[in-house]
């Protein structure tokens, strides 16, 4: 019995929920939100597996990598948001071409 198993399972489920959201939604901002859920699911899975292997707290190396990941995720979120706002201003009909650009941008930064 290890206390971090619930969190590892939670992370696994969050990855699934996030990926569903990225695929199922039309609206770019909905995809952005789902992308953030996927990201934190991956981090939670990663961190709790480290806690699981050490039998205690999350190790220093995973923690450092996760902090790096969180900062990169917020930077890419801000950039995608800038793109979406500009896209709206240009009055391009968002779904078809915009959807493609937006989502490939997420994938580049997904850890």
């Amino acid at each position: 019995m290890n206390g971090s198993i619930p969190f590892a399972l939670c992370g696994a489920v969050l990855v699934g929920i996030g990926l569903y959201g990225v695929m199922a939604h039309d609206h770019l901002l909905r995809r952005l939100i789902a992308f953030n859920v996927t990201g934190s699911g991956v981090f939670l899975l990663f961190g709790s597996l480290s806690a699981l292997s050490s039998g205690g707290a999350t190790g220093a190396v995973p923690q450092a990598l996760i902090i790096t990941g969180i900062v990169v995720a917020v930077a890419s979120t801000a950039f995608v948001l800038a793109l979406v706002v500009r896209l709206k201003e240009e009055d391009v009909d968002a779904p078809a071409p915009g959807a493609f650009e937006g989502s490939s941008e997420h994938d580049d930064h997904a850890p």
């Binding site: 696994a12 990855v15 569903y20 199922a24 909905r30 939100i33 961190g47 999350t58």
Partner: protein, 316 residues
């Protein structure tokens, strides 16, 4: 048979269920604004999960970014949109498939990961070598040691990613607006509640940020967490109309934004003269690490602040 066991486990399980519930609601609710608000709540509880996992450094970053900055970023953009309901489209067979296929893929991936969690024996960690070499790094917080010493490569590249994201978001500026202040022109009622709040909170935020920065060398926290806090109170002061938003063409704000990556690269290159790229000599490890950290904190604060404000815009 410690009685504390059950209360702690109960809390963890309820917390996990709540996090999953918030994520599910956020991805299924029709209203976009509600989905955004749910993401903020989600950030608060993920931070609590990190505390329970003993990862205080990550919890600090998640609390500052997930519950603070991401919220400001998304709410600002979403609240400006006029229509936020997804249209109630007629349910055709194709639309049904467009939900079912992603749902089954998501379920497949989640259950695959869960299977791995439950079956694979996870044994090896890098914690022992990290702690064994800690005296050579000049800091006592193992996470800071990994970020600025063992894996300094990652951190150097990460600050470059931040910088690249800033340049890329500047590229979305309208040609005729380039050279104006970032974001919209903010205004508030003089001596109103918002303006007073914007005067009160930043000094407190500065103290908390410096505390987190200082504690980062020896205990917990560090450049990223402190930088995010500084960015957040900077943005608050701008939103409250206390100070003006910076101009992307300004000298001083640009030097803030590049100070961290520049100094880091400089240290990395001087290491080449001594031994090899990115070597931090043991003798000067503590002052050098603190100097790098200070520059990084400034750069992260300036870059995140500019990223959240976005390109210059004219009010509608």
């Amino acid at each position: 048979m410690a009685p504390a066991f059950s209360a702690l486990t109960l809390f963890d399980v309820v917390l996990c269920v709540l996090i999953i519930g918030v994520a599910l609601c956020s991805s299924s609710v029709r209203d976009l604004f509600a989905a955004t608000v749910l993401l903020i709540i989600y950030g608060v509880f993920v931070a609590i999960a990190w505390v329970r996992l003993g990862a205080v450094d990550v919890a600090l970053a998640e609390a500052a970014i997930g519950a603070g900055l991401t919220g400001v970023l998304l709410i600002g953009a979403v609240a400006r949109l006029k229509i936020t309901e997804s249209p109630a489209a007629a349910v055709s067979r194709w639309q049904f498939a467009a939900k079912v296929i992603p749902a089954s893929l998501g379920l497949l991936i989640a259950s695959g990961l869960a299977y791995l969690v439950l079956t694979v024996e996870w044994r090896e960690t890098l914690q022992a070598p990290v702690l064994a070499n800690l005296p050579d790094t000049g800091v006592l917080n193992p996470v800071t040691a990994v970020l600025l010493n063992y894996r300094a490569y990652d951190t150097l590249l990460e600050t470059s990613v931040l910088f690249a994201a800033l340049i890329a978001s500047w590229c979305t500026t309208h040609d005729d607006l380039w050279g104006e202040r970032a974001g919209l022109r903010q205004h508030t009622r003089r001596a109103g509640i918002l303006a007073t709040f914007g005067r009160f909170l930043p000094p407190i935020g500065l103290i908390v940020g410096i505390h987190i920065f200082w504690a980062g060398a020896d205990k917990w926290g560090g450049a990223f967490q402190a930088g995010t806090i500084f960015a957040a109170v900077w943005i608050l002061a701008i939103m409250a109309g206390v100070i003006d938003a910076p101009n992307a063409t300004g000298r001083s704000i640009r030097s803030f934004a590049v100070a961290g990556p520049m100094f880091f690269t400089f240290v990395a290159l001087t290491g080449v003269l001594a031994q090899s790229f990115l070597i931090i000599p043991v003798m000067v490890a503590k002052p050098l690490t603190l100097a790098i950290e200070a520059c990084l904190t400034l750069s992260i604060a300036a870059t995140l602040m500019l990223l959240v404000l976005g390109a210059p815009r004219r009010s509608a």
